[in-house]
């Protein structure tokens, strides 16, 4: 695996982990019960993708998926600021979901062309599940596309797609505090 592949895999893994976390915050409080189940399932898929990607990178770097996911400092994460934001309104959540899936489809398509068979294979496997997420995102887009509150959310969030991965919001640090709390509360190497 080349340097570029490792970097992209880590970027995607961080995006999926953080977005999976944010999406999971809707479990139990989504506007409709049916949507609650569907969106929670999407959140869980994203975290599953993160796990598979971290495992590939971890093997390359001689570490473990858990260490990559939870033992780095917040400023070492390579996720986009788009996924870090904490939203309590559904239209922004769906706008992010739509923008993210659109961008994610493009980079997965590139990754599927990777010369590394394992990378290409994992990208293809992830993409098969993302296809379902895209149908879900498109369905909500079609439903809300004429709602000003939704188009305003799209306009607000779209620039975050190109905002870079070096600077992170304070919201990521807060999320990281909670996400890693259990691991940090125990001595390193504790077995669960």
């Amino acid at each position: 695996m080349n340097e570029q592949d490792t970097r992209s895999l880590l970027e995607i893994a961080d995006d999926e982990l953080i977005l999976g976390w944010r999406d999971s915050e809707w479990t139990g409080i989504a506007p409709l019960l049916e949507e609650d189940v569907a969106f929670s399932s999407i959140a869980q898929n994203e975290i599953g993708h993160a796990r598979a990607l971290y495992e590939l990178v971890a093997r390359e770097q001689g570490t473990t998926a858990d260490e990559l996911a939870f033992d780095r400092a917040p400023d070492e994460y390579r996720c986009s600021t788009l996924v870090e934001r904490r939203f309590l309104d559904w239209e922004k959540t769906i706008a992010r979901h739509y923008l993210y899936e659109e961008a994610d489809a493009k980079r997965l398509e590139e990754l599927k062309q990777s010369g590394d068979a394992e990378v290409a294979g994992l990208a293809a496997k992830i993409d098969r599940e993302e296809a379902y997420h895209r149908i879900h995102a498109q369905m909500w887009f079609d439903r809300l596309k004429d709602e000003p509150r939704f188009t305003a959310a799209l306009d607000e969030l779209r620039p975050l797609l190109d905002a870079g991965r070096e600077e992170h919001s304070a919201e990521l640090a807060e999320l990281w505090e909670e996400m890693t709390m259990v691991r940090r509360s125990q001595p390193a190497g504790t077995r669960w």
């Binding site: 049916e34 569907a38 399932s41």
Partner: protein, 96 residues
Amino acid sequence: MIYEVFRQERKGQPFQHAGSLEAANHDFAETYAKEFYGRRGESEALWIVPREAIMEAEDFVDELNRNYHRVDGYSLKEKLKEARERAGHALVARDR
């Protein structure tokens, strides 16, 4: 809108009622139905039907009390067995 979902577990098997769900339109209903009843390989196919499209018939009045039209309680198996036995005897008798 409420939708009723029927699932077929294996090819060739009849569709059976799986449950119902609430969705804003057909697209949402399809997505949710796949999510709840199909995404983990538990179904071969789904029928997703708006509840209002289902015609229900449940009052089967027998005003003239013509219960001799009914076949319930009439065991064909027993009658067939008897008929076969009779036929068997007849066969034996003729051969003799």
